[in-house]
């Protein structure tokens, strides 16, 4: 099973100075930065997925989008076939970005052109997301008029896409996207795509669904297509439970969750392997930047606290944590320093509101205690944890948060590899395994 990472310019500055908290002044964004496959010293995924929406209407600047199309995806991402043999670069249209539009804003021909110019190895047809999901209906029953209209657009686009991508030659593998409002309608879509000539299907719209529902969809689809037809699951949000999905004969899936959870999840920010096909999680310690954090900025504007007081609390929290890492501070003192700053974060900007909720603070303190007692960053041998030690567990600005995310990619990739047979285990990756 191939784990594909959905990229959205997730790089970090290798020269970032953690003590001064800044990049060198001559840093050139993207050029001087490193993607996960650069900073770890190996690719923690079998391929990258890049959506047209993120390049043309998303995170890329105009000059970056321009260069992406001129020099190609691999060159831009520095993920060349030569350096990373056997890897893939999959494209999709980014249907979630235009789910509100009546029609997809990009034509089949534009999409083919984009894949061709940027040299993708695989590309998805132009789909239109169906949000309705009804497990109870059988066959092609059910489905609102809108869902059926989107179903037809997706199928028709896939038909034209297959013809259109013939011009890209045998180096490109077209993937037909499955959309439906029920397991059976997805099965039907899959069967139609296979009949057109697709040998690789991409299952869309799974992100909001619960595990049970995804299982049912995969069962319905597998029931309609040949065992040799490959399946990719787009935007697989249940990535941590990937082992439950092995029985469906999934060829590949993409997800961003190991990276995003490093800074978007309330509790589970740092991954480690737990054995028994499982992962364990730790909470990162929040020390936001006193002068840049928006919540803190609101407190200052309303006059609840001064920036000088914030700076002192921030400094104390950071210094104590670093001393703790060197064995020069005890756990209680460290927790005190950290939670004094957390207390401010929980303050309301209105002076007459009650102060930070005792219970919330208690929860935070106990989660931080678990993190500090375990010192998980000391157990990890990935290039990031070895290099920056405790900084990786500090929840603070992009260079720490994304590094933690990249560490998670390392753990997750090896987790997925570990689920497979020992003889397919990635030799290179295992060198970095704890």
């Amino acid at each position: 099973m191939k784990f594909i990472y959905a990229d959205s310019l997730d790089f970090v500055d290798p020269r970032y100075d953690f003590l001064a908290d800044r990049s060198p002044t001559d840093r050139e964004p993207q050029w001087d930065d490193e993607y996960p496959h650069e900073i770890l010293g190996y690719a923690p995924y079998s391929g990258l997925l890049v959506s047209h929406a993120i390049v043309m209407r998303g995170k890329y600047t105009l000059p970056q989008a321009m260069r992406f199309r001129l020099v190609g995806a691999r060159e831009f991402l520095r993920f060349t076939e030569k350096k990373f043999p056997g890897t893939w670069v999959i494209g999709d249209s980014g249907a979630f970005s235009y789910h509100r539009d009546t029609e997809p804003p990009i034509s089949v021909e534009d999409m083919t052109e984009f894949y061709g110019e940027a040299g993708f190895t695989h590309g998805c047809s132009v789909d239109h997301v169906i949000f309705e999901f009804d497990e109870s209906v059988v066959g092609m029953a059910g489905g609102t008029e809108e869902s059926r209209r989107r179903f037809e657009i997706t199928i028709e686009n896939a038909r034209r896409f297959l013809a259109s991508t013939k011009s890209l030659g045998p180096g490109f593998t077209p993937m037909g996207v499955v959309q439906g409002w029920s397991p059976d309608s997805m099965g039907c879509a899959a069967q139609k795509l296979e009949a057109m000539g697709y040998t690789y299907l991409a299952l869309g719209g799974m992100a909001p669904l619960k595990s049970d529902a995804i299982h049912r969809c995969l069962d319905a689809i597998r029931g309609q297509i040949k065992p040799s037809t490959r399946i990719h699951v787009l935007g697989f949000a249940k990535a941590d439970n990937i082992f439950e999905f092995q029985r469906h004969n999934i060829t590949s899936f993409d997800t961003t969750s190991p990276l995003l959870r490093a800074f978007k999840d309330q509790k589970s920010n740092y991954y480690l392997p737990a054995g028994d096909e499982k992962l364990k999680y730790f909470t990162a310690i929040r020390i936001p930047q006193a002068l840049e954090n928006l919540t803190l900025g609101r407190l200052v504007k309303s006059g609840r606290i001064t920036q000088e007081e914030l700076l002192a609390l921030e400094r104390e929290a950071l210094d104590t944590l670093r001393r703790f890492d060197r064995g020069q501070a005890d756990i209680e003192g460290t927790l005190d320093a950290v939670t004094r700053y957390s207390e401010v974060l929980l303050m309301s900007p209105h002076a007459d509101d009650a102060s930070a909720s005792e219970k919330k603070l208690f929860d935070i303190r106990s989660r931080y205690r678990q993190t500090l007692e375990s010192k998980p960053w000391k157990d990890c041998r990935c290039a990031i944890c070895r290099e920056i030690s405790i900084e990786v567990i500090i929840f603070r600005s992009s260079n720490r948060n994304k590094r933690r995310g990249i560490h998670n990619l390392h753990v997750f990739y090896n987790h997925v590899k570990g689920l497979e047979k020992a003889d397919t285990y990635d030799e290179q990756a295992s060198l970095f395994c704890s």
């Binding site: 290798p14 020269r15 800044r22 002044t25 001559d26 840093r27 050139e28 050029w31 001087d32 490193e34 043309m56 105009l62 000059p63 970056q64 321009m66 260069r67 199309r69 001129l70 020099v71 190609g72 060159e75 029609e103 804003p105 990009i106 034509s107 089949v108 021909e109 534009d110 052109e113 110019e117 930047q289 002068l291 840049e292 900025g297 200052v300 504007k301 309303s302 006059g303 609840r304 001064t306 920036q307 000088e308 002076a351």
Partner: protein
């Protein structure tokens, strides 16, 4: 802790109601005398203070500068007092200023808080700044001074950009603009330039083409395109100038009737939307068709010349099922329009120049730092 700080100062004869003087002090001394009162609400919602919060990025820029050996900070910070300060005349305009700091800082910092914040943690604490002091009759007067002092007009961006190239070691965010500005000025004032006297600058108000548009083309190309490639060579500056000049020169020859004597109102080619979008054409011509010279660009552009609508007609953007039609004068210099037109021109150039690859396309752009 001392209870009093004493300075020799110069007093200026100004309004008879105010005492105004100036002296030199270290950042630590200034913080002992004056505090930053940021605007906020106290109990019961009453307004107090007046300063805005510190701006981290601004402070960092000042600090980077102040860390240099040759740093100077000639403009003074302004401290206002209402009490606990005595001014004694020594001789003519020379006075002695005595500030009572036994009960905390009596003054307020009304101008220069970002400079002082930048200075505060620097190890060389002996660096002095000029302090201008003013004694106000009451808090209200003090607030008025704050507003008057801070209500200045920033310089026009156009002029700042034009001044940038003459100044070394600026904050990094300005230095890419500085490079673009230098090249833009040369394109405008070098007689060998095809854009000679055509770019509107603060010092060339009769120019037609917006300098910001040309600068955007240059900055994009310098960060991710052809100029980045050329800049690596020893005569990089010369080649960068040559490329942009040749490219816009070729445009003027191929699209003569859409350029000569026209303004952004009468032709979208000299409008920012056209200038910026054609920047993309320069990149495609350079990278995909291998164009390097005036003649190369002219050949590439000739192939699209019948298919543009700079001064009349209607553009059809997109292909087949998703055609969007836009009248020539509906295009504005906004992100979506620039992208629409750039994508369209990009496609036109690739389609009409399929068979002509003049040189091996250059894709090998160099990364500056190798890290291991």
């Amino acid at each position: 802790m001392t209870n009093k700080l004493v300075f020799s100062a110069v007093r200026a004869a100004q309004s008879p109601q105010h005492v105004v003087f100036s002296f030199a002090a270290t950042a630590a001394e200034v913080f002992a005398m004056g505090r930053i009162e940021r605007a906020g609400r106290g109990d019961g919602g009453t307004l107090r203070g007046f300063q805005r919060p510190q701006i981290a990025s601004h402070i960092l820029e000042i600090r980077d500068y102040l860390e240099r050996e040759d740093a100077v900070l000639p403009n003074s910070v302004v401290l206002a007092f209402t009490d606990r300060v005595t001014v004694t005349q020594v001789k003519d305009s020379i006075v002695e200023v005595e500030v009572d700091v036994s009960d905390g800082p009596p003054g307020l910092i009304v101008d220069g808080q970002q400079r002082l914040s930048a200075l505060a943690p620097l190890t060389d604490k002996s660096f002095q700044v000029f302090v201008s002091g003013i004694i106000c009759q009451n808090e209200e007067e003090l607030r008025r001074q704050f507003i008057l002092i801070n209500n200045t007009r920033p310089l026009p961006k156009e002029l700042i950009y034009e001044l940038l190239p003459g100044i070394a070691s600026l904050p990094e965010r300005m230095s890419s603009r500085s490079m673009a500005s230098a090249l833009t000025q040369r394109l405008n004032f070098d007689r060998n330039s095809t854009l000679y006297r055509q770019i509107r600058l603060h010092t060339n108000p009769e120019g037609v083409i917006a300098s910001n548009a040309i600068q955007r083309v240059i900055m994009a190309s310098r960060s991710h395109g052809a100029l980045r490639v050329l800049a690596q060579s020893p005569d990089g500056d010369e080649r960068c100038f040559g490329l942009v000049s040749d490219f816009y020169g070729a445009i003027q020859e191929v699209f003569k009737k859409d350029w000569v004597g026209l303004s952004p109102k009468t032709s979208r080619l000299v409008h920012s939307v056209g200038i910026i979008s054609m920047g993309r054409v320069m990149e495609v011509a350079f990278h995909v068709c291998g164009a390097r010279t005036f003649a190369d660009f002219r050949e590439v552009l000739k192939n699209i010349s019948g298919q543009t609508h700079w001064t009349q007609g209607v553009w059809s953007f997109g292909n087949s099922d998703n055609v969007r039609k836009r009248a020539w004068n509906e295009l504005q210099s906004v992100h979506p329009d620039i992208q629409l037109l750039s994508d369209h021109l990009d496609r036109l150039v690739r389609q009409t120049n399929r068979d002509r690859v003049l040189q091996e396309p250059t894709v090998d752009l160099v990364r500056k730092t190798a890290t291991g």
